[in-house]
């Protein structure tokens, strides 16, 4: 039942609505078994791109290959892709069992096979004993897991997830992120995950695609993107960054890579002096805003337990950082 290949090639994909371009010439190779996240603000084209892969949006230009074979003309119901929708889209009149069994029963699988497979899926998402419930009798997190089980039940080569954690509260989200990652590891299916939440993207993905205005801004592993952002947008959308202008170029400098010390005591390859504008305690870190003459205020994160003393507002401080800490961006101005 499993398709031998779950690798996807997006080839110069575009989607236009009249004069508006929602997806602009996107090319991407997604490996079999990979957990790939499309990350971007709303309107970046990430959901449109996912809907094109699912077959719910036609392609204005370009092609999609699954295992080397074009699926651009294949209707959604023949693509065999699992999908977890925003809001889950569970069938409200069907029990949990019937929801999960749906993809198998429309494929006319024998009842015994369906029941065995549904039991296996309920086990995978830890919902044993919930088979007879209706979706409205479940919590948001449970509904999310039913949607996941339904989408994985027919062993699709690719699973598409459209902001599946959007409706959950923050604490539950972190829990479900770990479960999703674990399920991905166990089933080995290619996951294409759409979100606007950078923490979700960083914690789960093998690779992240940062999108803006319908275009790919940068692709890489979470560490790669965080350590070596290429553009100001990537540097500020994934984590926080200070931007410095040096020698006609723009550099991104993460707040936690800056050392802060009382004036005259800073030692480092790069140095700037300034005055503390504000300091805020966040438990693990102290966040300083430091006014440096001639540039925008610099944000500095200091591990709270390391900081010997909290430097108060108005204190004069030295900021120092290593050469490797500042990353040169392709932007020439902001």
């Amino acid at each position: 039942m499993t398709s031998p290949s779950g690798s996807l090639h997006l080839m110069s994909l575009s989607k236009r609505y009249g004069s508006f371009t929602a997806v602009d010439n996107v090319s991407l190779h997604i490996e079999k078994g990979e957990f790939l996240t499309l990350l971007g603000p709303s309107g970046s084209g990430k959901t449109t791109l996912l809907m094109m892969i699912a077959g719910f949006q036609d392609i204005s230009q370009g092609d999609i290959l699954l295992g080397g074979v074009s699926i651009a003309q294949t209707p959604a119901e023949k693509r065999n892709f699992g999908m977890v929708f925003q809001g889950y889209a569970l069938f409200p009149h069907m029990s949990v069992h019937d929801n999960i069994a749906y993809p198998l029963s429309v494929r006319r699988r024998p009842k015994a096979e369906i029941d065995a497979r549904v039991a296996e899926m309920l086990d995978l998402v830890r919902l044993n004993g919930f088979a007879k419930r209706l979706p409205k009798e479940l919590s948001g997190g449970q509904q999310q897991r039913v949607a996941l089980a339904r989408a994985l039940c027919f062993a699709p080569p690719v699973l598409l997830l459209d902001e599946p954690l959007g409706a959950l509260d923050k604490k539950l989200r972190v829990e479900v992120q770990a479960q999703l990652k674990e399920i991905h590891r166990r089933v080995g299916t290619t996951f294409v995950y759409v979100t606007h939440d950078q923490e979700e993207a960083l914690s789960m993905s093998d690779r992240i695609v940062i999108m803006q205005n319908g275009r790919i801004e940068q692709v890489g592993t979470p560490a790669d993107l965080y350590q070596h952002p290429k553009t100001a947008f990537a540097a500020s959308f994934l984590g926080k960054s200070n931007f410095l202008h040096r020698d006609g170029a723009v550099f991104a400098l993460r707040p936690e890579k800056i050392d802060l010390s009382p004036e005259g005591q800073g030692i480092g390859a790069n140095k700037a002096s300034g005055v503390v504008l504000s300091v805020t305690y966040f438990g693990a870190v102290l966040k300083y805003q430091v006014a440096v003459p001639g540039i925008d205020p610099i944000e500095v994160d200091v591990d709270a337990w390391r900081a010997g003393q909290v430097l108060p507002e108005g204190a004069r401080v030295d900021l120092t950082w290593a050469d490797s800490a500042a990353v040169r961006l392709s932007d020439h101005s902001l």
Binding site: A54, G82, M83, A89, F91, P92, H93, V106, L134
Partner: protein, 263 residues
């Protein structure tokens, strides 16, 4: 809790209106119980003789049967056509589709007498006058828009992602329609069917134009009963007609309550 004067007036007005709307229909009940031989209010005693007459006369019973068959078949047709139309327009959802929708709703707007003349002109050359087929077709055309309206209202609250989910999971259009869309809009379909049946059940204008001797629906027999003699059996028939209409509504209300979608 104190109720303000305008609110009281409003309530009172609503009750007056309700009575004005219902009272004329309720008059049939006492009249149907009269012991006299003409349409009148009973004065001294009540009698069920006209109900006996109604349920033993071959003519009246035949009219009941005819109205039921015509109503049932035209309801089935109108519900199927109206539901498919509504789903089609919902899927297309384009300005052109809205034009089509207005055209489809025309039978509701056209005065019955005009529709009756049109059907009559059309059906004479087709040989459909005074036939079950002709009346069923005409009633289907008249009641399909009612189904279109109720089903469209249901579809407005239907999550389009359910359709996408079904197709994504491998279901064809037909399977999606049968297993996801129709169960989701069942209350609207049921309401449409009830309205369609009622509209056929008491339709008179078009029926008068399209029937002669062989087709004799219940409203037509009542019409003749009032016109030719003042037989109180008509009042008894009216009461039964109302009772069946109310029954249809009750069935719909109960079913709608049971299948109310989850909040």
């Amino acid at each position: 809790m104190r109720v303000s004067l305008p609110a009281k007036l409003n309530t009172g007005f609503a009750w007056v209106l309700l009575v004005l709307l219902i009272a004329p229909a309720l008059v049939a009940i006492p009249v149907s119980l009269t012991p006299k031989t003409f349409l009148s209010f009973p004065t001294d005693e009540l009698s069920l003789q006209y109900y006996r007459e109604l349920f033993s006369s071959p003519e009246w019973l035949s009219s009941f049967a005819q109205s039921t068959v015509i109503g049932a078949v035209s309801t089935l047709l109108a519900t199927t056509i109206g539901t498919l139309c509504a789903i089609g327009l919902w899927r297309v959802s384009s300005p052109a589709g809205e034009v089509v929708r207005s055209v489809l709703l025309l039978p509701l707007v056209v005065p019955p007498i005009i529709a009756a003349m049109a059907f009559s002109r059309l059906f004479v050359p087709l040989g459909l006058i005074d036939s079950y087929t002709g009346l069923i077709l005409a009633h289907t055309v008249l009641s399909a828009p009612l189904v279109l309206i109720t089903v469209s209202a249901s579809l407005a609250g239907f999550d389009a992602r359910l359709e996408q989910a079904s197709r994504n999971l491998g279901a064809s259009n037909w399977v999606t329609l049968r297993r996801v869309i129709v169960p989701g809009i069942r209350p609207g379909i049921l309401a449409g069917a009830v309205f369609a049946f009622i509209s056929s059940w008491d339709e008179i204008v078009v029926t008068l134009f399209l029937s002669k001797f062989s087709v004799y629906t219940l409203p037509r027999r009542m019409w003749n009963g009032i016109r030719e003699n003042t037989d109180p059996t008509v009042a008894a028939a009216a009461v039964v007609l109302m009772a069946i209409t109310l029954l249809a509504f009750a069935i719909w209300a109960l079913a709608a309550r049971r299948t109310r979608p989850a909040a």
